[in-house]
Structure formats: structure tokens, C-alpha cells
């Protein structure tokens, strides 16, 4: 089905001094796609994500969100337009409880900030609790985030990103730092929670991943990076079988 792509990058490039972190990135992602970004460390995946969120400004090219040029915009503005991201190292409010973290996230995403409306009003708490339940985090709701184990922190980080029902969700290594036996259950929870977001159509998800099993299971499409460029783009079965990917990403083909 044709239409305006949810995300389009045209000739995007950026360099830090002599280092070319990204070059000639061209990509079109349609609404509802589940895309995995793969590549070895330093290949340019996170740089690309940072450019989408507005944290970094590309030296060349444009990035469009649903047809709108977001290249020059501030991170906060881009968030307002419907882009949300989670972090490789969870960025949470350590001193607050899990519930309070969700309350802050919902208040910010809804742009519902008031000088007198209680943050802990029943309606807000109910909504936050519902979201926590979807992520199996409700048992931790009263605990201080600093005390939580790594896997729970990661989930909370992602849950918070999803509170605003973003059009485009960027997950930066959602299963990194999570033990092997927890990875699949965690992705099941995340993808399951995504399935609920049907009111405005499917959420578009980009996730950076190193674990190929996760990629094969959960991605509709794989985009592989190497040395700042895209070396493969297609369904997992095909993309992961290309020589370039086998050589530079999965390591199956010795260089």
C-alpha cells in the first residue's frame, strides 16, 4: 500500500572530525513496519537513531516524519510530533517509584502539566497502572527505581517511551544487558504491548539489536549498517543471508 512513509531519510550523513559516522543513508519506512537495525559497534545505528530524535544534526540530507521535515527540529519538538525512544542504558528517575516514573511520562507526553492538578489523582494512577500491567511491571509499582534489577529497568524505560502512543518508536538495544533466558519473554511483552496500540493504526518500530535470534523472530525487515552506510535492507531471511551482512555484521563469513 503506497502512501507517505512514516520515516524517510534522504542522503543523510554526518561526520565527527575525520570520522564518517554516517554517509548516504537513504531509507523509507512505512507505517506499521517492524524494522531492526543491525551492525557492529560503531557502524552507525545509534548515530542514525540520534539523528532521527534530533539529538544530532546531520551534516547532509533530510529526515522526514510522515512527510514533514524534522531535520532542523529540537528533540523536544520531535517528541511532540510522535517520536519516542528508549535507551540502551535505561534513563529513569531513580529516586522516584515505578508508578511515579509512569506518571511523569504520561504527564509529559500528554502535555498535561498543571500547577494544581494533582499528579497522583486517581484517573492518572489508574491509567499508569494499566500501562504497568501491560508490561508486567505492576508488581513493582511502589518500589524505588534505583532498587530494581536490570531487566525491570529496561522494561520500564521502554514502557515510559510508549506512554504517549508515539507514531514512531525507537528502541535502542532493548535486550542488551538482559540475561539470555529473559530476552524472548521480554520481547514478547514489548511486542504484545505494541499490539494494543491499534486506535491510530500500528505503531512503527525501529529497534537496534545485536541478537540475530531476536531479529529473526520479531522484525519484518532488517537494515544493516557498516561503516556508516547501509549495506543491506530487506526481510530478515534475505538480508541476513547476504555476503556483506555475513561478513560485516554476523561474523559468519571471515573477512
Amino acid at each position: 500500500m503506497s502512501g507517505t512513509p512514516m520515516l524517510r531519510a534522504r542522503g543523510v550523513g554526518i561526520r565527527f572530525g575525520a570520522v564518517v559516522a554516517a554517509a548516504d543513508i537513504n531509507i523509507e519506512i512505512m507505517a506499521g513496519e517492524r524494522v531492526s537495525l543491525i551492525g557492529s559497534n560503531g557502524a552507525g545505528k545509534t548515530t542514525f537513531v540520534n539523528m532521527i530524535t534530533g539529538y544530532l544534526k546531520p551534516d547532509a540530507g533530510q529526515i522526514e516524519l510522515a512527510g514533514r521535515d524534522i531535520t532542523p527540529l529540537e528533540p523536544r519538538t520531535i517528541t511532540r510530533l510522535g517520536v519516542a525512544r528508549s535507551f540502551q542504558i535505561p534513563q529513569l528517575f531513580d529516586e522516584l517509584s515505578v508508578l511515579e516514573n509512569m506518571l511523569v511520562a504520561t504527564a509529559c507526553h500528554d502535555n498535561r502539566l498543571s500547577f494544581w492538578e494533582a499528579a497522583r489523582r486517581p484517573a492518572a494512577i489508574d491509567r499508569a497502572d494499566a500501562l504497568l500491567r501491560r508490561f508486567r511491571l505492576d508488581e513493582h509499582r511502589a518500589r524505588r527505581v534505583a532498587e530494581l534489577p536490570g531487566g525491570v529497568r529496561k522494561l520500564l524505560d521502554i514502557a515510559m517511551a510508549m506512554t504517549g502512543q508515539p507514531k514512531l518508536l525507537l528502541l535502542d538495544e532493548p535486550t542488551s544487558g538482559v540475561s539470555a533466558d529473559e530476552k524472548f519473554p521480554m520481547m514478547d511483552i514489548i511486542m504484545g504491548a505494541l499490539g494494543h496500540e491499534t486506535s491510530a493504526g500500528k505503531m512503527t518500530v525501529l529497534f537496534v539489536e545485536h541478537d540475530m535470534d531476536i531479529v529473526e523472530r520479531y522484525a519484518d525487515r532488517v537494515v544493516a549498517f557498516y561503516s556508516g552506510r547501509i549495506i543491506a535492507d530487506g526481510v530478515p531471511k534475505v538480508a541476513l543471508a547476504t555476503d556483506d551482512v555475513r561478513r560485516y555484521v554476523t561474523g559468519e563469513l571471515v573477512q
Binding site: T53, P75, R76, T79, R80, A84, R85, Q91, L92, F93, D94, E95, L96, S97, E100, L103, V104, A105, A107, C108, H109, N111, R112, L113, S114, F115, W116, E117, A118, A119, R120, R144, M160, A161, G164
Partner: protein
């Protein structure tokens, strides 16, 4: 709710209190307002070492309003103090909102010392001696010698009570929760679509309003103003009270302010050479062992 009750009780109790006590409590409550401002900023993660600036601005606004503009209504002057301090501080808010830690502390300190320097040298405002003002009126009524103390007391207590209540509402609000989130992780707040800068600016301006009112109330009770209101040691005392109180309980701020006021009042007669020593030791004790301030002694849960 308890706070409101407490306010009413205090106002009534004032009728029975001796003059020196009502004066002491008045000063404590008025200065508590300034420390309340510091509390506001501390919740966002910064400590202002220059709150004397808004204290002086509010005080001079009230004093000048009285002597130059003929405004004698105590309530009007209180509001004038708060608004003036807020208006003067507002242009600095965007800039100050970008600083943290020592640099925020030093910048607020520097600004308050600039104001101090200006006030010392401007003869129009009394220069280094400052100047006196007469008795304020309230709602059109002139106040007799006997009544003025109690009236100022009541006005101050009520103002403090109202501000305490409003603070509590603000702290419990979504913006209030956002403030503590900013203190914890500014990056995440930005990525959630919240504005860190806006939150910090708002807190600074609100703190200025509270501090300005405190300054006005002190001037009216004291009958005198001078540049020392903006000196760094004055700012230091407000910070002292805020640290002592911690940021759990608004009531703790006013209690801590009373403690300081009591120590200060009795110091010259009873222990002129050891009261600062006592304060210093007390502060060390609180910093070392009561990291959440004295408020944490009765508020057990992790309240914000």
C-alpha cells in the same frame, strides 16, 4: 488541612502571646517564606546562594512604596514586594535555568552581591544605612501602637500559611512532580517532551515571589531596611534554614526558621560568642546524619 488548622490556632494564640514572642514568630515566618523559595529550587536540584537578592528587592519595594508612593496598606505592600521581586528576577530566569551545581550557586551569589553593591552606593535609597519606615495600615485602618504588632503577626502568619498551602498543592501537582524528575534525570525529561528549562525558570520566579513577600513583611515589622538584606551572609542563613528543614515538609521550613530566629534573638544576651558555633555544629549534624533535613524526623514515607 492540618496546616490550615495550625495557622488558625497560631493566629488565635497570638492574642495571648507577649509582644516579644509575636515579633519573633513574625520574623521567623516571614524569613521562612524566603527559605521556602530555596526549597522550591532545591526540589529541582539547585541551591541558590543569592536569595538575599529577592529578599532585599521585596523589602526595598515595600519600603519605597511606603515612603515614596505613600502606599501604607500592609497587604498591598506585601504583594508589591512579591511582585517586584518576581519582575526583577524574571529576566534572569532563562539564563539561570541553564546552570547547575556550584555555578548556579556562584551566579546567584554574584547577582545578590551586585544588588548589595548597588544598594550600598545609591544614596537615594539610604546608602549603607538604609532607611526607616513608619507604621503600615491595614485595609484603610490606621493601627495603634498596641495593635500593630499583632496585626503584622497575623498578616505574616496567614501569608505564610497560604503560601505553604499553595506550595503543597504545587509540589503535589504534575509540574511539581516534574520538578523532582528534572532533579533526577534531565535528559529523560527532555526526551519525554517536557521542558527542563521551563520547569527551572518557573521555580526561580516562584521563589522570587515568595522571597519578595518575605522581605516586605520583614521590613514592615522591623520598620527598617538596609543593604545587608542582600549580603551573602543573609543568603547563607536562608540556605541554612532550607538545609535544616530538608525538602519533605513545608512546615519544617517554618520550624527551622523559628529555630534560627530563637537562637539569634537570645544570642546577644546569653551566648554572643557561641551561637554561630552552635549553628555551625547543628548544620554539620544535619548534613551528616539527617540528610533529608529535620522534616524527615516525622515524615516517614518517601514523600515529595
Amino acid at each position: 488541612m492540618i496546616g490550615m488548622l495550625f495557622t488558625v490556632v497560631l493566629v488565635l494564640a497570638g492574642l495571648l502571646m507577649p509582644k516579644w514572642l509575636t515579633f519573633l514568630v513574625t520574623m521567623a515566618a516571614a524569613q521562612g517564606l524566603v527559605s521556602l523559595g530555596i526549597l522550591l529550587l532545591m526540589r529541582g536540584g539547585v541551591v541558590s546562594f543569592g536569595q538575599g537578592m529577592v529578599f532585599a528587592l521585596g523589602g526595598y519595594a515595600a519600603a519605597l512604596g511606603y515612603s515614596r508612593l505613600g502606599l501604607t496598606d500592609a497587604l498591598g505592600l506585601t504583594l508589591l514586594g512579591g511582585v517586584t521581586a518576581m519582575l526583577v528576577a524574571a529576566p534572569f530566569a532563562p539564563m539561570l535555568a541553564r546552570y547547575r551545581g556550584i555555578f548556579f550557586a556562584m551566579l546567584t551569589l554574584a547577582l545578590s552581591m551586585v544588588i548589595y553593591g548597588l544598594l550600598m552606593k545609591i544614596e537615594l535609597m539610604g546608602g549603607s544605612d538604609g532607611f526607616n519606615i513608619g507604621r503600615p495600615t491595614l485595609l484603610g485602618q490606621t493601627l495603634s501602637d498596641a495593635r500593630v504588632g499583632y496585626v503584622m503577626y497575623s498578616l505574616t502568619i496567614v501569608t505564610a500559611g497560604v503560601m505553604a498551602l499553595l506550595s503543597r498543592v504545587y509540589f503535589d501537582s504534575t509540574r511539581g512532580l516534574l520538578t523532582v524528575a528534572v532533579r533526577d534525570n534531565e535528559l529523560r525529561v527532555e526526551y519525554l517532551g517536557g521542558s527542563v528549562r521551563q520547569a527551572m525558570m518557573i521555580n526561580f520566579i516562584l521563589a522570587a515571589f515568595a522571597g519578595g513577600m518575605g522581605g516586605a513583611l520583614v521590613v514592615m515589622s522591623l520598620g527598617h531596611i538596609d543593604p545587608n538584606f542582600s549580603y551573602w551572609t543573609t543568603s547563607g542563613e536562608f540556605v541554612f534554614v532550607a538545609i535544616l528543614a530538608g525538602w519533605q515538609s513545608v512546615l519544617a521550613v517554618f520550624l527551622a526558621s523559628t529555630v534560627l530566629e530563637v537562637v539569634r534573638s537570645f544570642s546577644s544576651s546569653y551566648f554572643p560568642n557561641t551561637w554561630q558555633l552552635a549553628l555551625g555544629l547543628f548544620l554539620l549534624f544535619v548534613i551528616r546524619f539527617l540528610t533529608r533535613g529535620i522534616g524527615s524526623l516525622w515524615i516517614k514515607e518517601n514523600r515529595r
